[in-house]
């Protein structure tokens, strides 16, 4: 007896009842499609969140004012005490081990004008190190330097989106003048495009200016003295992030004269740990969704078992005849097991296709990078075979155990 023939028997029985076979496989179709879709969506979300966070720069620690209780909230309300300063950034750069750069930042939204064109965008007051911290590069012109900053020059580096909005596509804005709020700035450089962030945010829609000039003349009313809204600290290597975080926390507590037991008056966010936390949260969610979807796979398996039991009863005479003609018990068992597996595997293939299509569609709508993982196919198909095997085993065993005489006599 050749095994190939048993596969043909199984396929023949499935094709003989196309409607019934399709409905039987439907449970597995839905189960596999749901699992594939859920994991793909979960992975897509994870990837885009990770990308969004790494879009801020790699090996990055962000220090913001305020205690942990107001974590992440950079409020610029009047009277809000901003607790970190230029000097803190300087000290971090000089005194903490493993720091590549420490770039302070102030930021605000402003109406920008040039040649009668109008655009509302974010203006960030930074130091030249900011480019390093955020992994930004200059496409044309130059970045302002310490000399520009010292002399208080109002010079600006524009993001590509701002250039496009103010001067038009492919225009060369170098040397042109723009007004940020009421303040005239001269354009000296254009940033290379970073495209959209994972959150669908345009990362090219910004203007950089020297920290002091922007702080005093653009966002000045909201920020007093030499305070800054954040310090972007870049570590020399990913392994150094924890050392840097500990080092700068000690340094800032020391500089801010905080006593032991007193809360920090600043917040330190480590990009690596943020990514880790976000990924872990999404992963948990994904596993949960996939588990729920997997339940429908089990329900599909029960459907297959049900129909296979019906088939064994229905085809009792066929089984008896095959035995009379020389089929062994294991031939019969295998034939019915293969029938269940073929049904389940067929359902799995269709489910994989539908699930992938669904995942791509949702990803397209949500503007995510699609992430139907490469292992989805072998996993989905492996699981369908397993479902067929598990739920086909009992009916197949029953078929193999039939008494040929009884079976032949059955009407």
């Amino acid at each position: 007896m050749r095994r190939v023939e048993l596969v043909r028997f199984a396929a023949g029985a499935i094709v003989a009842h196309p409607m019934r076979s399709a409905l039987t496989a439907l449970g597995v179709v839905i189960g596999v499609a749901a699992v594939v879709m859920m994991t793909s969506i979960g992975l897509g979300a994870q990837e885009s969140v990770t990308k969004a966070i790494t879009g801020l720069g790699t090996n990055l620690i962000i220090v913001s004012p305020g205690s942990n209780r107001q974590r992440g909230v950079v409020s610029l309300g009047a009277g809000q005490e901003i607790s970190i300063t230029d000097a803190d950034a300087d000290a971090i750069a000089k005194q903490v081990d493993g720091v590549a750069v420490a770039a302070p930042l102030v930021a605000g939204y402003a109406q920008v004008q040039a040649d009668g064109a109008n655009w509302n965008t974010q203006i960030q007051g930074v130091t030249p190190d900011y480019l390093v911290a955020r992994d930004l590069t200059i496409a044309s012109g130059r970045m302002f330097d310490d000399a520009d900053a010292r002399q208080g020059r109002e010079v600006a580096v524009l993001g590509p989106t701002v250039v496009k909005q103010l001067f038009g596509e492919d225009a060369d804005p170098i040397g042109r003048r723009i007004r940020v709020g009421d303040v005239p700035f001269q354009v000296i450089g254009v940033l290379a495009s970073k495209g959209q962030s994972g959150f669908g945010q345009d990362q090219d829609d910004l203007i950089l200016g020297p920290l002091a000039a922007v702080r005093e003349r653009v966002v000045g009313r909201k920020i007093k003295g030499d305070a800054v809204q954040s310090i972007f600290v870049k570590a020399t290597a990913p392994e150094m992030l924890d050392t840097v975080q500990d080092g700068l926390t000690d340094l800032l507590r020391d500089r801010h004269r905080l006593r032991e037991g007193q809360d920090d008056d600043f917040t330190v966010q480590n990009m690596a740990s943020i990514i880790q936390a976000a990924s872990a949260a999404i992963q948990t969610f994904t596993v949960l969704l996939a588990a729920v979807a997997a339940i429908s796979l089990v329900v599909g398996g029960v459907g297959i078992m049900n129909i296979m039991l019906v088939a064994v009863t229905e085809r009792t005479r066929e089984i008896g005849l095959r035995m009379a003609l020389g089929a062994t018990r294991s031939d019969i068992l295998l034939q019915f097991a293969l029938e269940a597996i073929t049904l389940s595997l067929g359902g799995g293939l269709i489910g994989l296709t539908l699930g992938s299509l669904g995942a791509f569609t949702i990803a397209a709508i949500a503007k995510w990078t699609t992430a139907v993982p490469a292992w989805a196919a072998p996993l989905a198909l492996g699981f369908s075979v397993l479902v067929g095997l598990v739920f086909g085993a009992y009916p197949a065993w029953r078929a193999g155990q039939l008494d040929p005489i009884e079976a032949l006599r059955r009407e």
């Binding site: 007896m1 035995m323 009379a324 020389g326």
Partner: protein
């Protein structure tokens, strides 16, 4: 070829035991054409099931060409049925999904024959039984007599030593029944051993030997009348 000694078959039916065969001793030689006759419940079907390797005797010996079939395991008996026995049933027992050709191929598939070979043989067998033009027909497209001839071709697929027929004409009208019996006779003339179980006296009359069963015993073993070919 067939040697049966003190063969008994007892079925437990709840508390009671039904004795279907009670110490039957019988031998059938190669090339014989025997009819097993008797009323229902006389044990003839039980004997046929044991002779065909579908069932095991409760006690006694069944030797086929010297081999003790009664002691065979499940797989051995499956192999025995596949290679040594050809079954013909009253209700034909063709698989409705399959064509005549595919039905005839079935035993050869279980014997592990290559597709090309077995297709050729199945075609030749269907021609032998006069259905050379019907190979692609489904059982439902064939008359009863044609279906039974497909079943006979299938029974011959693995060149069996023994053809076992259980009421082969029971579902046929008398004309097609006669055709089937003629086919049996010509197969027997070619040397095939035939055992036909029937309660039809006309069918039995055409065999060369009649073994009459009654209550699990052999009541009569009539090898006498050579009336194999009545006009």
């Amino acid at each position: 070829m067939i040697e049966v000694e003190k063969l008994s078959k007892i079925y437990p039916m709840g508390e009671e035991r039904v004795v279907a065969l009670d110490g039957v001793t019988l031998s059938i030689g190669r090339g014989e054409y025997a009819a097993i006759i008797g009323p229902s419940g006389s044990g003839k079907s039980s004997l046929m099931n044991i002779l065909g390797g579908l069932d095991r005797p409760t006690s006694g010996e069944y030797r086929f060409d010297g081999e003790s079939v009664g002691d065979f395991g499940d797989d051995q008996r499956a192999h025995f049925r596949n290679r040594r026995i050809g079954f013909v049933f009253q209700s034909f027992q063709l698989l409705p999904r399959l064509s005549a050709l595919q039905n005839v191929e079935l035993p050869m598939i279980y014997a592990g024959q290559a597709p090309g070979e077995r297709r050729e043989r199945a075609r030749a067998l269907l021609e032998r039984v006069g259905l050379g033009t019907r190979v692609g027909h489904r059982p439902t497209q064939l008359s009863g007599g044609q279906q039974q001839r497909v079943a006979i071709a299938r029974a011959l697929a693995n060149t069996p030593d023994l053809l076992l027929a259980d009421e082969p004409t029971g579902a046929l009208d008398s004309q097609t029944g006669k055709e089937v019996l003629q086919l049996f006779e010509s197969l027997n003339a070619e040397g095939l051993t035939l055992v036909v179980v029937t309660h039809d006296a006309e069918v039995a009359a055409r065999a060369r030997r009649r073994v009459r069963f009654h209550d699990g015993h052999i009541a009569e073993d009539d090898r006498g009348a050579a009336n194999a070919k009545p006009a």
